[in-house]
């Protein structure tokens, strides 16, 4: 479904990504792991068109989407739950969610359009008329996920969805993500907590200094000596 090959991205004059390649098949849950600054968020941003690709190719369902506009890629069925959530803090929860379907031109619909999101995160129905900025970190993350779902994506990119989320809500969000995946949505998850990530995804890629250095399923990654030393050394 998603095929990234030899991706390179520049931030100004600095090269942030050198050579990232990864593949995500339809219906898969795939992780993207790596240290801070390895280039995980840049990879996600490049896929959805927030950053220009200097080299390499990105295809989605066989269609090249590198350097396509974000609006276009979203319309094709890719959605991002971005690092730091990027909500509209002074707008209500309902307005935030409705904006998620803006690109699809369905944003004018009220009430019923949001029911699937409220079914997933019932607490948001109670907070619908509250400003998104007043919610707790975990609830804001629910809004970010719900907003991304409003464009009815086939591929959901999740960038660190558990930062600033209370432990009690982490499980609730993980359950919701599992249900979304069961509905047939493909997922690419960036996550700092390797154990948590490997519980959720079937396999993962590891990037280091802007390059893909390792790929494998849970057992293969945990069995890899270099991987264990780097990511599990402190455990």
């Amino acid at each position: 479904m998603l095929d990234v090959r030899g991706l390179a991205v520049d931030h100004g004059r600095l090269r942030a990504l050198w050579d990232v390649s990864l593949e995500v098949g339809a219906g898969e849950r795939v992780g993207l792991l790596g240290a801070n600054g390895a280039g995980k968020s840049t990879t996600m941003g490049a896929i959805i068109g927030l950053y220009r690709c200097a080299e390499g190719t990105i295809t989605f369902d066989g269609v090249p989407i590198a350097n396509a506009s974000t609006a276009r890629t979203v319309a094709r069925g890719v959605a991002l739950v971005p690092e730091g959530r990027r909500l509209f803090p002074a707008m209500t929860v309902a307005e935030n969610l409705l904006l998620g379907s803006y690109g699809a031109g369905r944003d004018a619909q009220g009430g019923a359009a949001l029911d699937p999101v409220y079914a997933l995160f019932p607490v948001l129905a109670d907070k619908a008329r509250q400003a998104a900025g007043e919610l707790s970190g975990g609830q804001q993350q629910m809004v970010a996920i719900g907003r991304a779902l409003m464009s009815r994506p086939r591929l959901l990119l999740l960038d660190e969805p558990f930062i600033g989320v209370a432990p009690r809500l982490v499980d609730e969000i993980l359950d919701a993500l599992a249900r979304i995946a069961d509905d047939g949505v493909t997922m690419l998850l960036v996550e700092q907590n390797v154990h948590r990530a490997l519980e959720f995804v079937a396999r993962a890629y590891v990037i280091e200094n802007g390059r893909t250095v390792l790929e494998g399923n849970r057992a293969a990654l945990l069995g890899d000596e270099g991987f264990s030393r780097k990511f599990l050394g402190l455990e």
């Binding site: 609006a71 990027r86 904006l99 690109g103 907003r147 464009s151």
Partner: protein, 290 residues
């Protein structure tokens, strides 16, 4: 000085302040979305005001028709101005793009003022409607003032509805609050920026028609108005419609009272003093709200 005089000044201040607020709101919308301080913004009011008064005296058009013509014309011209002169600067580095946009908008201010003065003359002009006055006890309220007041109320309400109830309005607020968040919702930032630049400028054209009905305009009055609009944004909050209205009316009434009790020539300095006071004392007030 009697009670009636004070009431007259208050009413005048509310009118003047409402007009300031309309100008400021267009400017703050543009700043919130496009992140450009448009120094030519107030000059657009001067140009539109001169055009309106010329159309009124030379062609005999009624003010509603003038507004209906000026609004789309300013919308389209301002969008073209943004696309051709300002948008290319966004791709430059931060320093070049900031200096570039200041030069372009200040340049537009100077050229528009001179061009208007050379074509229409540098003198003050206005539109004088011969409407009756209403007397409430000892207070005489000219009908024109009520018409302008109604215009301000209608325009403010229309802007509120556009911002909260339309697809364009939601996109404007989204881009103002988080540009990346807006992009991943499928909002095309470039298009929204151009439309907002046009929209903000078109509201100034409408405000200009209301302005010339009550006060004289001249080609060189624009920059002072832009400074007042900056003050209102600083005091009332960026993208905050009720805040702009309150700050505008406060400024308008304060100017009126200063002219009444002190000296008229000190009234224009008020806005600068107010802006500096707020900036120095409460810098946190500059947050975004939309």
């Amino acid at each position: 000085m009697g009670f009636e005089t004070v009431l007259q000044v208050l009413l005048g201040g509310i009118l003047q302040g409402g007009l300031y607020a309309l100008v400021a709101f267009g400017l703050s919308l543009i700043y919130g979305v496009v992140r450009i301080l448009n120094f030519a913004h107030g000059t657009l009011l001067a140009v539109a005001g001169v055009l309106a008064s010329a159309a009124f005296t030379a062609l005999g058009w009624n003010p509603l028709l003038i507004a209906a013509v000026l609004c789309p014309v300013f919308f389209v011209l301002a969008m073209a101005f943004y696309q051709v002169l300002l948008r290319p600067l966004e791709r430059r580095n931060a320093y070049e793009s900031i200096v570039g946009t200041v030069l372009v908008t200040v340049g537009a201010l100077l050229i528009l003022s001179d061009l208007t003065a050379s074509l229409a003359g540098p003198t003050q002009r206005n539109i004088t409607l011969r409407l009756p006055s209403i007397e409430v006890g000892a207070i005489v309220v000219p009908m024109t003032q009520l018409v302008v007041l109604a215009g301000i109320v209608v325009l403010t309400a229309a802007m509120h509805v556009i911002l909260t109830r339309t697809r364009f309005g939601r996109a404007v607020r989204a881009v103002t609050q988080d540009e990346v968040g807006a992009a991943i919702c499928g909002i095309r930032g470039g298009r929204v920026k151009a439309l907002t630049f046009g929209f903000g400028s078109a509201t100034v054209a409408l405000a200009a028609v209301l302005y010339v009905l009550s006060y004289p305009v001249d080609p060189y009055m624009g920059f002072a108005l832009t400074v007042k609009a900056f003050t209102i944004i600083v005091v009332g909050g960026i993208g905050n419609l009720p805040g702009a209205l309150a700050a505008g009316v406060f400024l308008g009434v304060a100017e009126g009272l200063t002219a009444l009790y002190f000296r008229p020539e000190w009234a224009p300095a008020l806005s600068v003093i107010l802006m500096l006071t707020v900036l120095v004392a409460r810098p946190k007030r500059l947050g975004f709200k939309a």
